[in-house]
């Protein structure tokens, strides 16, 4: 049996139990969301005891060096003792909601203003924390020079965070943000390399940032943006993206829906068939894939097989929050949140 010391108290862990699950099981509220080592909302710092290597996977070197680790991916050796110095609080920056507006029936644009320095690259993601500790990851659609951070939040029935944002949250409300994380961003240096950006739903958020960032940094090669939705009303920012394509000859915007009528410049059919038609030989390209995990993983495999190099494929799968002891966040879960 291993033990964890958290906020001046010792908690024992069952065999095979992560630090996060152990604390949640014993009623300790700890922010978390994906339970898969991706969102980083369960970040903690160890004061004493060995941190398994796996618990630091994906963290920045500076955080690793300071003994930060992800509680959901931390399984101490049997018999080991780990003392936690604190949660990720010291890394969290206060921010104020600036505006909340609908971009479409199912997508909310949330603008927030950090109250302290928050450096990021367009396309990375952050963790948004409500005052009570509820935590969810969102990709950033804005560019650093724009001042306010822009998020695109898909409204989910019974969604704890998206529901709160769409009904109760008001401009001026205080939240906290943590991050950024992720390697979905534009790197200058190869301005002629073709870029392939693809995502469905709010997967557009980071792609919107990456495409504009690349254009502003003088990218000269073709930039293809494929945005998929189930139905036409699932598409958003259509006019803005069309206008961007008018201004930049190398930017190609291809909206696509699974169901709907042909016409109006929207493709009907699967996103991956459209990509294959438009970009039949993507060898040597760079790709950014964001949004629905199944789509992201299947596109990634297809593009790899089509000749893209593994290191040139950047993917952010929007993993849903995982339920477990203690619920989806630091608060009770909605009754229908049963997965």
């Amino acid at each position: 049996m291993s033990r964890v010391r958290y906020e001046a108290q010792w908690y024992s862990l069952e065999p095979e139990e992560s630090v996060l699950d152990g604390l949640l099981r014993q009623g300790v509220p700890v922010p978390h969301s994906c339970k898969a080592g991706v969102c980083q909302s369960c970040l903690m710092r160890a004061a004493a005891g060995a941190v398994p290597e796996k618990a630091q996977a994906g963290l920045k070197e500076t955080l690793k060096a300071r003994n930060y680790f992800l509680a959901c991916s931390c399984w101490p050796e049997p018999g080991a003792e780990l003392e936690v110095a604190g949660g990720g609080d010291e890394l969290r920056v206060p921010a104020r909601l600036e505006s909340l507006e609908r971009l479409s029936g199912g997508v909310l644009r949330v603008r927030l203003r950090p109250q302290a320095a928050f450096e990021y690259r367009a396309g990375q993601y952050l963790t948004l924390l409500r005052a009570d500790g509820l935590a969810r990851s969102y990709s950033v659609a804005s560019l650093p020079r724009e001042g306010a951070l822009e998020l695109h939040v898909r409204l989910l029935p019974g969604g704890a965070m998206s529901g709160w944002l769409s009904t109760e949250a008001r401009p001026g409300d205080e939240v906290r943000i943590q991050g950024p994380a992720g390697d979905c961003f534009y790197l200058p240096g190869r301005p002629e390399q073709p870029l392939l950006l693809a995502g469905a739903g709010t997967g557009l958020s980071p792609l919107y940032g990456i495409a504009r960032d690349a254009l502003e940094q003088g990218h000269t090669g073709p930039i293809w943006l494929f945005h998929g939705a189930r139905e036409p009303r699932g598409l958003y920012l259509v006019e803005e993206l069309r206008a961007l394509a008018e201004r930049h000859g190398n930017f190609h915007y291809r909206p696509s829906v699974l169901e709907g009528r042909l016409g109006e410049g929207v493709h009907v059919g699967s996103l991956d068939a459209l990509i294959r038609d438009e970009c039949p030989k993507p060898v040597g390209w760079r790709a950014f894939l964001c949004g629905n995990p199944e789509l992201v993983l299947s596109l990634r495999k297809k593009l790899f097989l089509a000749g893209l190099s593994m290191k040139d494929i950047h993917a952010d799968a929007f993993l849903p929050s995982a339920s477990g002891p203690g619920g989806a966040g630091a608060t009770p879960r909605a009754p229908d949140a049963s997965r």
Binding site: K301, S309, M310
Partner: protein
């Protein structure tokens, strides 16, 4: 004699080799079901360990590790025909990288030397 690993340029060259090899494996209906992992990066890291080993690069794998590492695949039916397919892609990858035939032969022999361990015989 220098190893294929050194000849190709060491650790730096492994990413290109992994891309080529993993692409062949994933496209091969005979064996790709063994490699379907939602986490392609983790899977690629393992391919890298595999290639580094058979190319004669630094590794600490023992025959016992090979037994343990593939036992769950043998349970799923891993047999000589699959081994042969992997060896084929190994040779194909080296050919694509412009490695000369005698050296390819050397790599295939290294692979052959662990056949019994991989197949848990």
């Amino acid at each position: 004699m220098s190893t294929v690993y050194e000849l190709l340029g060491g650790a730096k060259a492994m990413d290109a080799a992994v891309d080529l090899f993993y692409r062949k494996v994933l496209a091969d209906e005979r064996i790709n079901h063994f490699f379907e992992d939602v986490d392609m990066e983790r899977q690629a890291a393992k391919q890298k360990a595999f290639l580094t080993m058979v190319f004669g690069g630094p590794n600490n794998y023992t025959g016992m590790d090979m037994r343990k590492g593939h036992a769950h695949l043998v349970k799923r039916g891993l047999n000589d025909s699959h081994f042969n397919a992997v060896a084929e892609h190994l040779a194909g990858t080296l050919k694509d990288l412009g490695v000369a035939a005698p050296l390819i032969e050397q790599v295939i022999q290294t692979a052959e030397s662990v056949r019994a361990d991989v197949l848990n015989r």
